[in-house]
Amino acid sequence: MELTEKEKAQNEFPGEIIDTPGGGIVVSSFDGLINWARANSLWPLTFATSCCGIEMMSTASSKYDFSRFGFEVARATPRQADVIIIAGTIVNKMGPVLKRLYDQMADPKYVIAMGACAISGGPFFYNTYSVVKGADHIIPVDVYIPGCPPRPEALLHALISLQEKIKSGLTREQIRQPKEQ
């Protein structure tokens, strides 16, 4: 049964998500605990394309120190990361790579679009032939941070907002309905 679904998926649009059977048994009261754990242990993927990446590094540095909130363990592989912070411009060539990275992350996964470029293309909106005008054309985004580049405090605020969103059960992951088969 599962194999046929996989085969079906091969023929569809590559970004298509197919829910596999199983999982999601426990509900309500236990969910609160799980959401608390997930919210307090967001491991970011070390992914940065341009200037915002430097501010992300600043956020990791001593003065701002996002390890206080448990975001400390930056993983280089998407398999172990929880949140992908799109720090910088996404161009057409990068698009498939970003999509692939997002797809390869293990569920549950969250996305933060950091900076004007990731939100809309920012200063590179007009007259460019290669910039994707907003990372949400490629992958779904949970939290947006404006700025060019945003201050480290803004990134911290975004991460805390994401925490609150997870705790209240409103992320895209949590409200995703299984597709009708």
Binding site: P14, G15, L45, T46, F47, A48, T49, S50, C51, G53, I54, E55, M57, S58, S61, S62, K63, A76, P78, G88, T89, V91, K93, M94, G95, P96, V97, K99, L101, P123, F124, Y126, N127, T128, Y129, S130, V131, C148, P149, R151
Partner: protein, 376 residues
Amino acid sequence: MYSQTEIIKDTSDTEGELVINVGPQHPATHGVLHLVITLDGETIKKIEPHLGYIHRSIEKMCESLSYRQFIYVTSRMDYLSSHINNLGCAHNVEKSMQIEVPQRAKVIRVLMSELTRIASHELWLGAMAMDLGAFTPFFYAFREREMITEIMEDTCGARLTMNYIVPGGLMYDLHPDFQQKVKAFVKQFKHKVTEYEDLVTNNVIFQNRMKGVGVLSKEDAISYGCTGPVGRGSGVHCDIRKIFPYEVYDTVEFDEVLETAGDSFARYMVRVREMNQSIRIIEQLIDNIPEGDFQAKTKAVLKPPKGEFYTRVETARGEFGVYIVSEGGTTPYRIKFRSPGFSNLSALEHMAKGSKIGDLMATMGTLDLVIPDIDR
């Protein structure tokens, strides 16, 4: 839109060779550089850089932006030396329109450039140490870098992409606290450089991983067009601040740092010693900022005459060239940025061929690549 890629299972033609993609998402490529590496065991047989993962078509974009506008975009190219990028462009416009910049602006521009250079080298130090597996230097380096970003924020209103230098001078005057804060920074930084030396330079593991790794001879460095610390690490006399002094560089005393070994350690030493030279420049200028205007009187719309103009400045990574072809209009007809990283990167294959993967990281770390600068 996105083609689904097939997994190649056939291995018959590449027996014993491992083709590995390093990047675009890789902690050691400092951005989105993509290297396709052919390995034999751990030995690198071939490196093929693929660029364009952050190609934002800045050159095309600038053709439709006015002379005041396109300077802001250049901050986003080499974001670690954004002041110097701005300076290069402002310089070009000033040269073509023959604008005389006030002395105060000139001094402040040099001060800002040198502060940016220190900040950039600090970040490089932390990132490179992290490439080699040491976490702590990263935090130490960022501690001092943070002081510079604070100074920048006071005056320019931004931490990273400043957009402070405009054609004709500066955007605003200095923040009143500037001198005092810079002095405090200089005082602390002088003491901290020795700390870095203790922590990093004199570390045996570090030295063994750097010495004799990624050697680039002087002839090759010239042929590949390597400039900045990479060129100077190979003994090429290529500091634009010395060869073609701009602003007030001809009136301050500083040494061009030259090493002759051409290996990663030489490049490392060049950068560390360059920080000291920058401090020297700052110390000479900080008490001698002349009073006066910070901006020359310019027209609201800049229209350089018809012709071709080329300016060169020294960023933290090397020679940054701005080549503007003007048709006399309000926007440049063609603009070309000669980015230092692009040429430095082209030497990577030559330097890393035949070495191990670990050595590649050391080599790449000391090249100090900023990918948006390379792709533009």
